[in-house]
């Protein structure tokens, strides 16, 4: 027997467990609704043109969707994986003729891949339906904005994976993961902005741009409209690309740590 069948077996089990009817459908509905509503509102309240408009459109219509992606990631990775270890389901999966790495890949494909695929599909479809000319005229900007928006989501997913593997408890991992997301997306954001404002230095913005590259992209495209931060930091396009690259490198490192720990360090 090859690896394909057991892999599909694990993947199907994870799919059944992660995306129960009608939770996925409700999230998809909210995702589509917010894309259309926020895309429409962003176009109506337009104050930019060309690339900046395309960036603003994608950026403002996707940020609430990120919350809708974070919810299934929290539920599937932090709670789901933590509970699986706690209840002994992962031990059962280890008896499959499949390497540990493949088991984790199947789990992550279901927990992270499906929500991301749906998020990207719905968002791109919605924006293309409403603004085909703008999306087609600025494919590079649209791609960069999506990449920048997804980087912190992937980072959070990687950190939640490590957390779930370390804590080995579903509820505990969920609560800690929720706290981590609040710190990463809300508290850090406020802290960085107030630090930049009070010190007048851009180093806090630069560090935070590695975690959320969309900050650098926003400064590049919409800088003057963002207020005081533009007075202390105007990144060039190549700098923006560097922040994006650094962000994805960080994501890769976190996932590699998670994989290595799952393969070698996880004692259950």
């Amino acid at each position: 027997m090859g690896k394909g069948r057991p892999f599909l077996e694990v993947f199907t089990c994870a799919l059944n467990e992660d995306h129960r009817f009608p939770i996925l459908e409700i999230l998809v509905f909210l995702c589509a609704l917010s894309t259309f509503v926020l895309g429409g509102l962003a176009a109506v309240s337009n104050f930019t043109t060309g690339e900046a408009f395309a960036h603003n459109l994608v950026s403002s219509s996707t940020w609430p969707l990120i919350i809708l992606v974070i919810i299934p990631i929290l539920k599937n990775i932090a709670y789901g994986l933590g509970s699986d270890i706690e209840k002994g389901i992962t031990q059962t999966l280890f008896s499959y003729p499949l390497k540990r790495g493949y088991i984790l890949t199947a789990k992550l494909l279901s927990a992270l891949g499906i929500p991301l695929l749906l998020f990207l599909g719905i968002s791109i479809f919605g924006l293309f339906l409403l603004f085909p000319d703008i999306i087609l005229a600025n494919p590079g900007t649209v791609f960069l904005t999506y990449a920048a928006q997804l980087s912190p989501v992937l980072l959070a997913a990687g950190l939640l994976l490590i957390l779930a593997l370390r804590l080995k408890r579903g509820v505990l991992a969920l609560i800690t993961g929720l706290g981590l997301c609040i710190v990463l997306f809300l508290i850090f954001d406020a802290l960085v902005n107030s630090l930049a404002y009070t010190t007048g230095s851009n180093w806090s913005l630069k560090i935070y741009a590695v975690i959320t590259p969309n900050l650098a992209l926003q400064e590049y495209y919409l800088g003057t409209l963002l207020g005081f931060t533009h007075q202390i930091w105007v990144p060039s396009f190549s700098e923006v690309l560097l922040y994006l690259l650094a962000g994805y490198l960080l994501v890769a490192v976190v996932f590699i740590i998670g994989y290595v720990y799952f393969k070698r360090g996880l004692r259950i």
Binding site: P22, L24, I26, F36, V37, A43, V44, L129, F131, D133
Partner: protein, 228 residues
């Protein structure tokens, strides 16, 4: 069974996207601002009452009341073509650069095409001919593609317009009669989240495909539940 489940879940997801689109297209256009204007149009002349860049989500409603029959035109030029025309006008009338706001670009293009031999014109020469109905009609004959809508001769009319694309739009009133006409216009900006003409067909398609894919799975699910 697995295949039916996979197709069924895909169907319910597609159905949800379709329903979200329907929901977004339901609210009637909102009207954030409005403006009015009362004035007179000289015999056989025309006026631009309103102009600006509009997107598929933004449009306007116009209503016109006049003492005699007038013609109303809605003209739309793509931003690219508009920039091209601006450059052409600038090259043709370098001395009129100071009055080259967006407002005058289309009338000046019409003048240039109607009077190609007008060399080094003074502003007075241009103003004398720029607002003639004959110049407008000639311009529209040359560029019929920019006419988005035109009314029959009428003294009272109302029209709602939402562009299908990003366009520089002009709302023009022409007085073809030999007498001065008093005109009162009202323009109301309109805003929609999703233009109906763009979203209705995809929504219908998505809902139909979604239902077709989901029904076998939903039936199977019900049967399975009732047998348990």
């Amino acid at each position: 069974m697995r295949r039916i489940t996979l197709l069924g879940r895909t169907g319910t997801v597609i159905l949800m996207v379709g329903l979200a689109i329907v929901l977004v297209s339901l609210p009637p256009p909102a009207s954030p601002s409005s403006s009015g204007h009362r004035g007179s149009i000289l015999p056989e002349e025309y006026e631009i009452e309103h102009s600006g860049v509009y997107r598929p989500q933004t449009g306007f409603q116009i209503s016109v009341e006049s003492t005699d029959n007038v013609r109303v035109y809605l003209l739309g030029v793509s931003p690219l073509e508009f920039d091209n025309w601006k450059t052409q006008v600038r090259a043709a009338y370098p001395d009129l650069d100071h009055m080259l706001g967006d407002f005058f670009v289309v009338p000046l293009i019409f003048v240039r095409e109607a009077y190609p031999d007008l060399d080094d014109p003074q502003i007075e020469d241009i103003m004398d001919i720029m607002w003639n109905v004959s110049v407008l009609e000639k311009g529209l004959q040359t560029h019929p593609e920019i006419v988005l809508w035109q009314s029959p001769p009428s003294s009272t009319l109302s029209h709602e317009f939402l562009p299908a694309d990003v366009l520089y739009i002009m709302f023009i009133i022409a007085n073809p009669s030999p007498d001065r006409v008093e005109v009162e216009t009202k323009t109301k900006d309109l805003t929609v989240l999703a233009p109906k003409e763009r979203v209705v067909l995809p929504a219908v398609l998505l809902i139909s495909i979604g239902i077709a894919l989901a029904i076998p799975w939903l039936i199977l699910r019900k049967v399975k539940k009732s047998t348990l």
